[in-house]
């Protein structure tokens, strides 16, 4: 039973209860009723208080049985309550039973007065778990490690290694003195796989660790009443039924139903995207728990307002809170493969396909040529090893992590290495508004006085308030703004820039305080000079705020009454209006002007406040007059209207530029917000998401004065769609909407709908980036191809779900991300092209060896020294290459058409440059043999004699005779020569890969210094191998004569010249046959 109660009460996902008890509010919890219930053993002392139900969609969570616990109940109401409880006992008990029959399992009852007993709390804690979000499931480290061990080419190399050992095993059985070569090779392959695996794992782990340290949360404390005592406990230990106290500035420790509250406002922006703080009281106001005033949500914050205190009962903890539910919705969204992962997989498939098919083809050929099957297997392994770029995946990882580092320096923290590239291929950005595009704080945007609208500076520092401040009206208005305000700076912040100072007060008062501080200077000093004698704070019935001050002018003994509030309310109270510092009667035309201005500012999605003042006549109100705020013994009508002021959560100043850049990069920017459509549209317009000259269907209708239905939908470029409209749309309609409008704003959307929008975009084959900071964004962040969370304002849920975090909350960092992503994609292409090229030069020796019987030109182990030795640093160096052209002016790549490794790249690398390289390397090889006595023609079909251990007097072209070991040594010299030949040409290959289209000379041969480090490393490694380790037999290197290092140079130059020609023709004849076939 208790378990059932837990399940029902805890999860709003419980099925709809058949009969919600009472339309609004089920009976007040009664002690007696509770006691009667306690007879049911499993119920303990808890009785029904609240009932929640949930449909699948989170925002339609319905709140059927929110009880009205009256304010009284809080402190002094305890006794009354008891009496009342007893009085109603009979009736209530009956009703309760009835209710419980229907909803028993969804319910909890408690004694509000004593709180829970610690034992019961401990029980509940044990039952429901701690009040914390379950962290997203981590893949066990060992699994991650094993994945690295078998991913990519590893499996192919494992097979090779095992085949090597098997081959040796068979050889050993037939001939115990068989050479250990294949054991070496197998071991080397295994070591290579393990090392590259460990390396990749280490790289991954390193980038994940940055994240882990970043996400550390500060343990939260909560004030709770337990055992009739106030206690401070870690918020994690809260359980359902706990009574908690909240002060201004606190983070709400769980989902809480308020029992009493005073002057509290909560910032729900992370949950709903609304930029304005919501006031909270104990009244039940709405069926929807998100809207109702008496529920506050886990992880939202209570605004720092004077005397804000609240008491409430915990109704949901941990994963069962709204936040927890959204978070679990996010974790339920599968992790899609990143585009670059898909590309790498595609590339691995191509290379592995080529390797295996060439391997098997030559295995069959070898068997047909009467080779021993065992030898054929060794050939197969060699071909696979030659074809697989062993070092490439490690190189790609390094290149990605280099970019990640570079991005981190530019304040883009990448959680998942592969996400580095994703922004580059992004074609749609779905951006949240509040906190992402906007600063997430109210700021004064416009003023209206002297019948004129002035624009205030809304940029982050606000310092440049350039509107005309000479008018007398402004002097009066500024005084009202400064005086009629209860917000104050926290002391001790003199050195902090005004905009960054912490203020005690609600959002709009804060905005006004900062605004006047910037323009007038020390507001506190002004207030001191104009001593306040009385004030009436803002409340929702009055809709105004008023205060009366002594003036700073010692000669003026009049009192100044200042008032601000809802514009229409203020206007009602006025009979005059101030124009150019002079009071004028408020006539109809002025009232009309006021309305126009009010509508205009309201239409901008701004919150408008009216200001008026009145100098109380000194004769009626002498200095000694005693003002009383209760009785209001002073005039509150026939005042003088001074002006309007409007506030908005303004866009971040860098956003419009970033949006433009995204546009020119072919990226569609869509706004998806939980905020109101008017505000959303206004912000969209001001940041350029809806461009200046585009109109929505509604705009056209308004302009042409026709009905919305009559407008040709094709005329509208922009669309503003609300969550309500979206709800009624079929996926096809959404697709059509997304495809037809270049500028779209979604407003009033729920987390689920954000998810739907992202999915809709993905159906268009777009790579979708989602930016957001709130919990409500987290499912969409997870679903997106790349989720970008804000680092400063972002909630932990958003950060957890995101792949990338903007540490400075700067939307324009996304542009950096796009740029870096596109660059790394281009550069990876270059890296891969560079690495693939030599595969042909590595493969040909084996093919020629099998078919034409030359002494083996290069050994398998030597190959690995190219792949994992000389080629590593150069291929990483290509990641440092600068962009060839303005990558921000081209369209994002098409996910399915513009592949990382396309046919052109493979063909050009394999069949053009690769082949040239092979010829160059063969030239060095033939030269070495010829100059030692074996002319090229004599080498053909020499293999059997050459490889025979017992033939120790093989005659060369000059009549000299060679022992087996002497030949072997010559063969190793051949390996070294071939190796050097490839290395020298890889230098040319490296240089040509710097660009794909531009001439190397345009790109600058020396701009990327790392390339030269790479070239130096190639040469040094080769020198070390040849001269340093030349005496170690197992490595098969010998000391090569100096002149052989230069034999392949002409081929290297040829490669360079050929590629320059290729690029030249591509530039000369864009779109031609050449361009189509040669541009990769």
């Amino acid at each position: 039973m208790a378990g059932g109660a837990h399940r029902g009460g805890g999860r709003w996902g419980a099925p709809h209860s058949p009969a919600p008890p009472g339309p609004r509010g089920c009976p007040v919890p009664l002690k007696a009723a509770a006691q009667s219930l306690c007879r049911k053993p499993t119920w303990g002392q808890y009785c029904t208080l609240l009932l929640f139900q949930r449909k699948l969609e989170i925002y339609s969570v319905e709140h059927h049985a929110a009880t009205d616990i009256k304010k009284k109940e809080g402190r002094d109401g305890k006794k009354d309550n008891d009496l009342e409880l007893k009085r109603n006992q009979q009736k209530e008990e009956l009703k309760k039973e009835l209710d419980l029959d229907v909803s028993l399992q969804f319910a909890f009852v408690l004694f509000v007065f004593q709180g829970l007993s610690s034992t019961r709390a401990a029980e509940l804690l044990a039952q429901n778990g701690p009040n914390a979000l379950t962290p997203p499931k981590q893949t066990p480290e060992i699994i991650k490690f094993l994945k690295q061990m078998v991913g990519g080419f590893s499996i192919l190399l494992w097979v090779g290694a095992v085949l090597c050992w098997i081959a040796f095993g068979i050889q050993y059985v037939s001939n115990p003195s068989a050479s250990l070569d294949s054991v070496y090779l197998g071991t080397v392959l295994a070591v290579v796989v393990i090392l590259t695996g460990i390396f990749a794992y280490y790289q991954e782990a390193k980038s994940t660790n940055i994240m882990a340290s970043f996400c550390k949360m500060i343990p939260q404390q909560a004030v709770v009443i337990r055992d009739s005592e106030k206690k401070v406990i870690p918020a994690e230990q809260l359980v359902v039924g706990d009574i908690v106290e909240i002060k201004g500035g606190d983070q709400i420790p769980a989902d809480i139903r308020l029992l009493s509250a005073q002057g509290c406002k909560v910032d729900n922006s992370s949950l709903t995207g609304e930029s304005e703080p919501q006031s909270r009281s104990s009244e039940f106001t709405h069926e929807n728990p998100l809207e109702t005033k008496n529920i506050t949500f886990y992880s939202t914050t209570c605004q720092r307002v004077f005397r804000c205190t609240a008491t409430g009962m915990v109704i949901n903890t941990g994963d069962r809170t709204i936040i927890g539910r959204i978070a679990s919705l996010a974790s339920g969204v599968g992790n899609e493969k990143t585009p670059i992962a898909i590309e790498i997989e595609h590339f691995v498939h191509i290379v592995a396909g080529v390797a295996v098919s060439v391997g098997i083809l030559f295995f069959i050929i070898a068997v047909c040529m009467k080779y021993h099957v065992l030898d054929a297997i060794i050939f197969l392994i060699a071909i696979i090893v030659a074809n697989v770029p062993e070092g490439l995946l490690a190189t790609v990882t390094v290149a990605l992590s280099l970019t990640a580092k570079r991005m981190a320096k530019k304040n883009c923290l990448v959680k998942n290495l592969e996400a580095v590239e994703t922004l580059g291929s992004t074609s749609i950005i779905c951006s949240d508004k509040t906190g992402t595009l906007t600063q997430n704080r109210m700021t004064v945007a416009h003023l209206w006085f002297d019948n004129q609208i002035f624009v205030a500076d809304t940029s982050e520092d606000n310092l440049n308030q350039g509107f005309d401040q000479s008018s007398g009206t402004w002097t009066s208005l500024s005084k009202i703004i400064a005086l009629c305000n209860r917000a104050e700076f926290k002391p001790g912040q003199e050195s902090v820039p005004i905009m960054k100072r912490v203020v005690v007060g609600d959002a709009s008062e804060t905005a006004l305080l900062k605004f006047s501080e910037v323009i007038l200077g020390d507001v506190m000093e002004i207030r001191k000079r104009n001593h306040k004698v009385v004030e009436i704070p803002f409340n929702s019935t009055n809709k105004f705020q008023l205060s009366i001050h002594q003036t700073e002018d010692p000669n003026d003994k009049r009192f100044l009454l200042v008032m601000k509030g809802a514009p229409e309310r203020i206007l009602e109270k006025c009979s005059t209006i101030m124009i150019n510092g002079k009071e004028q009667p408020l006539d109809k035309s002025m009232a009309q002007a006021f309305h126009t201005a009010y509508m205009e500012l309201g239409g901008l999605g701004e919150r408008v406040l009216g200001f008026c003042h009145f100098y109380l006549p000194a004769d009626e109100f002498p200095e000694t007059y005693s003002f009383d705020s209760e009785s209001m013994n002073f005039p509150t009508s026939n005042l003088c209207f001074v002006g309007l002021l409007s506030m908005i959560d303004p866009p971040r100043s860098t956003v419009p530029d970033a949006v433009t850049k995204c546009r020119s990069a072919g990226i569609k920017v869509i706004m998806v917000t939980g905020d109101h459509p008017i505000t959303a549209k206004a912000i969209a317009k001001s940041v350029g998401i809806i461009s200046a000259n585009s109109e929505t269907v509604e705009d056209i209708a308004k302009r042409c004065n026709i009905a919305v239905e009559q407008v040709n939908k094709r005329d509208a470029k922009a669309a503003v769609v609300t969550g309500m409209e979206l709800k009624d749309m079929s996926p096809e309609q959404l697709d059509e909407l997304l495809a037809n409008y270049p500028e779209i704003v979604f407003a009033r959307t729920s987390p689920q709908q954000k998810l739907i929008i992202v999915e809709g975009c993905q159906r268009q084959d777009a790579v979708v980036a989602v930016t957001g900071d709130g919990v409500n964004d987290s499912p969409a962040l997870k679903k997106a191809d790349i989720g970008v969370a804000m680092g400063i304002t972002g909630s932990d849920a958003a950060k957890n779900a995101a792949d990338m975090i903007l540490l400075d909350d700067n939307f324009s960092s996304i542009v950096t991300g796009v740029e870096e992503g596109r660059l790394i994609f281009d550069n990876l292409k270059k890296t891969i092209a560079y690495t693939l090229t030599k595969n042909i030069a590595e493969l040909c020796p084996f093919l020629i060896y099998i078919i034409l019987g030359l002494p083996l030109p290069i050994g398998t182990i030597t190959l690995l020294f190219i792949d994992l030795g000389t080629d590593i640093i150069p291929s990483i160096a290509l990641a440092y290459e600068k962009a060839e052209s303005d990558i921000m002016n081209r369209k994002p790549r098409h996910k399915k058409k513009d592949r990382l490794v396309n046919q052109q790249l493979a063909v050009y690398s394999y069949l053009h440059i690769g082949l040239m390289q092979a010829l160059g390397a063969f030239l060095v090889y033939f030269t070495v043999y010829a100059q030692q006595g074996f002319r090229p023609t004599s080498l053909f079909h020499l293999r059997i004699a050459w490889d025979s251990d017992h033939l120790n007097d093989l005659e060369d072209n000059y009549g000299q005779e060679w022992t087996s070991y002497q030949r072997q040594y010559l063969e190793w010299t051949g390996y070294t020569a071939f190796f050097v030949g490839i290395m020298v040409q890889q230098i040319a290959d490296l240089i040509i890969r710097k660009t794909r289209k531009n001439s190397i000379f345009k790109q600058g041969l020396f701009r990327n210094k790392v390339i030269w480090v790479g070239i130096a490393s190639q040469i040094i490694v080769a020198l070390l191998l040849s001269y340093g380790l030349g005496s170690i037999t197992a490595l098969n290197f010998t000391m090569l004569k100096a002149q052989y290092w230069f034999v392949a140079v002409p081929h290297a130059i040829l490669i360079w010249v050929y590629d320059e020609m290729r690029k030249l023709f591509i530039r000369l004849y864009p779109g031609s046959w050449w361009d189509k076939n040669m541009y990769y």
């Binding site: 993905q762 010829l919 100059q931 120790n952 060369d956 000059y958 009549g959 000299q960 005779e961 081929h1051």
Partner: protein, 279 residues
């Protein structure tokens, strides 16, 4: 998304068919006939060019070579030793004195090999003075005679079966030819049976001497008719030994510049072979 990606077998088959031949665009394997023509033409020209270029560079490389002497001889500073005839596998001579077919192959090989050493073949060669290097300046290089009788019992003159029929087989030991090699001291081949109780070895010429007059060698092209010096080793099994199986190790001795102790090269200045004489 996933629905779209999962194609039915028929669909993918149709797609493949369309890839192989697309009747609407006339594409075969993704290219039209014209496109194929162009691409083939391109590769014909490109590869033709590459082939010509490679041939040219190879030709240039061959120009650096000398017909008479290889450019470098640093990889063979010291000669290897090798035996003749060559057994089919490994260096194991298995024969049976009573079964001529078991050794016919060896005898034929030996005869063939010794043919240039017959007196008629050598009559155009020079008789060189013993014990000194016959260094020559050219342009004509003469070869020294190696009279076959120096091999005595193993010359094939007195015993056409080279001792095989008597169970005392002859094996020729020869030093690899290396152009310009000038042995120092008095090089000789010394052959020792591993187990002296089983067999003894006779070497011919006496003491296994290799005369310096056969050195240096001037190469196949210049040194026409050059005969390399041979040493014959005859294995004589002890009469009282029942075991007719012996491993013989031969090495060059007496010359400080001819190595015979290399760790890795088991044939540098030495050779080991096994004789198994069956009943």
């Amino acid at each position: 998304m996933t629905k779209k990606e999962k194609k039915s077998f028929n669909q993918s088959l149709a797609e493949w068919k369309r890839f192989i031949y697309n009747p609407t665009s006339g594409e075969f394997l993704g290219r039209t006939a014209k496109s194929w023509g162009l691409i083939l033409l391109f590769y014909l020209v490109f590869y033709g060019f590459l082939a010509a270029l490679f041939t040219f560079t190879m030709w240039v490389m061959l120009q650096t070579l000398n017909d008479e002497v290889p450019k470098y001889r640093d990889q063979i500073p010291s000669p290897g030793l090798m035996v003749f005839p060559k057994p089919l596998s490994a260096l194991e001579y298995t024969f049976s004195a009573s079964d001529p077919s078991s050794y016919r192959g060896y005898i034929e090989d030996l005869r063939k090999f010794l043919k240039p050493y017959t007196l008629e073949e050598q009559k155009n060669l020079t008789v060189c003075p013993d014990g000194i290097l016959s260094e020559q300046k050219g342009p004509v290089y003469v070869a020294c005679q190696f009279p076959i009788f120096l091999l005595q019992a193993c010359s094939g003159m007195s015993d056409p079966d080279f001792g095989y029929s008597q169970g005392s087989p002859c094996v020729l030991v020869k030093m690899n030819r290396i152009i310009g090699l000038k042995p120092e001291g008095t090089p000789r081949i010394e052959c020792i049976p591993k187990d002296e109780n089983v067999a003894s070895i006779s070497t011919y010429p006496n003491n296994g001497i290799i005369d310096l007059k056969y050195f240096p060698y001037y190469g196949k092209k210049l040194h026409v008719g050059y005969l390399q010096p041979l040493v014959a080793a005859q294995v004589i099994f002890s009469a009282n030994s029942t075991k007719k199986e012996v491993t013989v190790e031969c090495k060059i001795d007496g010359s400080p510049n001819l190595k015979n102790q290399d760790d890795r090269d088991k044939f540098l200045g030495r050779v080991a072979f096994k004789i198994i004489a069956r009943a």
